[in-house]
């Protein structure tokens, strides 16, 4: 292939994804303006952007974003930290793993949103139940990934640490933690995504604020353009989570930068 041909190919690949995206939006916009699709159910992108600007301006969107992110983060931190700690212990102790692993494996496949009503029976309909169901969802990917991360540590590293006189604390901070961190970060990514999904579901069902609640309310009152605005906001949050994880991975596991994407 000629040099200019190679250049054209590289440009095509580079701009392919944004190009297709923009083309679809343009098509959507055009179809809306020409009256080919119902403006009530499929408001044009320009209308959605207007709505976003309006809702952002009057503070409604910001308040809902804050409510949702707060639920996601509190559930994620609670469940994630518990999962991280238990995963470390289970990775380390074969006996603990033998007892607890079957329980984890048994409960893990249950879609966590399905036990939300049961949680509410026990913990009421307040903030506690909502945090708990998100925490339970975040707990599983963290415990499973952390355990796997600790288990896959090559025994050579532990022998090296032993031979060079590392005490238990140094073994933990200088070997176990860094050696398992790629897997833990993969767990964080899964747990954050799940937390966002479960938070949205919970808000659709049982909340006065948050993006999920906003979606449900706008659906019931047929303000469909606000529903779209909330979906866009959720997408942006998801993308920001992903971006944060990628940055975190680059920073925390520089020796594995190739696998960070």
């Amino acid at each position: 292939m000629s040099r200019s041909g190679q250049w054209a190919r590289a440009q095509l690949l580079r701009w392919g994804a944004p190009g297709i995206g923009l083309a679809l939006f343009a098509l959507w916009e055009a179809a809306g303006r020409m009256g080919l699709i119902s403006p009530l159910f499929f408001p044009a992108p320009s209308v959605i952007i207007d709505t976003l600007v309006r809702l952002f301006g009057n503070g409604e969107l910001t308040a809902n974003v804050i409510a949702t992110v707060t639920r996601v983060m509190s559930g994620f931190l609670l469940g994630g930290l518990l999962g991280l700690s238990l995963g470390m212990l289970m990775g380390w102790s074969a006996s603990l793993r033998q007892v607890v692993d079957p329980l984890v494996a048994a409960v893990h496949p249950i879609p966590k949103i399905s036990i939300f009503p049961l949680i509410m029976i026990v913990f009421g309909i307040g903030v506690l139940s909502k945090t708990l169901v998100v925490a339970i969802a975040a707990f599983f990917p963290m415990v499973i990934n952390t355990m796997a991360g600790v288990r896959q540590i090559s025994p050579i590293y532990l022998e090296v640490a032993d031979n060079y006189g590392a005490g238990p604390w140094k073994v933990f901070t200088r070997v176990i933690l860094p050696a398992s961190s790629p897997m833990i970060l993969a767990g964080v990514r899964l747990a954050l995504n799940l937390s966002l999904t479960i938070t949205t579901s919970v808000e659709l069902l049982m909340a006065q604020d948050g993006l999920g609640s906003m979606i449900w309310l706008s659906w019931q009152t047929l303000r469909i353009e606000e529903l779209y605005a909330a979906v866009v906001a959720l997408a942006v949050i998801g993308i920001l989570f992903r971006f944060t994880i990628v940055m975190l991975t680059k920073r925390l596991v520089p020796w594995q930068s190739r696998e960070s994407a």
Binding site: S154, I156, Y157, E159, V160, A161, D162, N163, Y164, G165, A166, G167, K170, R174, V175, P178, A179, S181, V253, P254, W255, Q256
Partner: protein
């Protein structure tokens, strides 16, 4: 320091009953001596080295260290096969590992590590991570990490096994040069007969599993040694001799027809 092992046995349980890995091994390693252990793969050379390092306990038998060093000096430092470096630490931190574990402050640790990094010709790579280095450079880092500890004995587990032939020769020479400067006692495990003869004062020849010591051969070369020593008739003769001892062991190990 002298190290004496007497009647060392090691067996471990498996699903199909107990497996004997080492059988009645006795040896003595004198102060400042460079001893090579050569044997077919799977014969328990590494296991024996781990016993000397204190990472494994023998099932029976004793290993006695006659230490003359002052307190605080580690008894041994292991140089592992290629995967012994921590991939999450820079060269500087890997070399300073033992000092860090000993509680040496960061600044003085880095200063000392830098000296050894220089001695091993790695100055340009102090802040690199192991995956950015060639296999040969990685093993130099491993050597620096062991030497900086100033241990009474260096234990090496086929440190150059995965290197290409040319790099291997260079690193063997470097090892001998630095060893001359520091005069350490070395126990060096390898499956390369020629390497054992070129590096060691004595060579212990091990049998296939269960590992036992078949013969002890002293190397009639003076130091400093030369690359061309490998062609000397007394070395060639010993090489052939060891190979004759080991040939059957290796054949048994791979299930071939004798």
């Amino acid at each position: 320091m002298s190290i004496a092992g007497t009647h060392i046995h090691l067996s471990y349980p498996t699903r199909n009953g107990s497996v004997v890995a080492l059988e009645d091994i006795s040896f003595e390693i004198r102060a400042q001596e460079f001893v090579c252990i050569v044997g077919p793969s799977g014969c328990g050379k590494t296991t024996l080295l781990k016993i000397v390092a204190g990472l494994l306990k023998p099932t029976s038998g004793r290993i006695v260290f006659n230490s003359t060093a002052a307190n605080g000096r580690p008894r041994n430092a292991l140089v592992f096969q290629e995967h012994g470096l921590f991939p999450w630490m820079s060269v500087l931190d890997n070399v300073g590992l033992g000092l860090e574990m000993r509680g040496v402050r960061r600044k003085s640790r880095h200063a000392q590590a830098m000296q050894f990094i220089e001695q091993f010709g790695l100055s340009a790579f102090a802040y690199s991570y192991p995956h950015e280095l060639s296999v040969g450079m990685r093993q130099r880092v491993s050597l620096a990490r062991a030497f900086i500890m100033d241990p009474e004995v260096l234990l090496m587990d086929e440190p150059f096994a995965s290197l290409d032939a040319l790099t291997k020769v260079i690193l063997q020479q470097e090892l001998l040069r630095i060893w001359r400067e520091h005069r350490k006692q070395v126990v060096y495990v390898t499956h390369d007969i020629e390497e054992a003869l070129l590096l060691g004062d004595r060579v212990l020849v091990m049998s296939g599993r269960p590992g036992s010591i078949l013969e002890e051969i002293s190397v009639p070369l003076t130091r400093p040694r030369d690359l061309l020593d490998r062609g000397r008739p007394e070395i060639v003769e010993r090489k052939n001799h060891i190979w004759r001892i080991l040939e059957e062991e290796v054949r048994n190990g791979i299930g071939g027809i004798a």
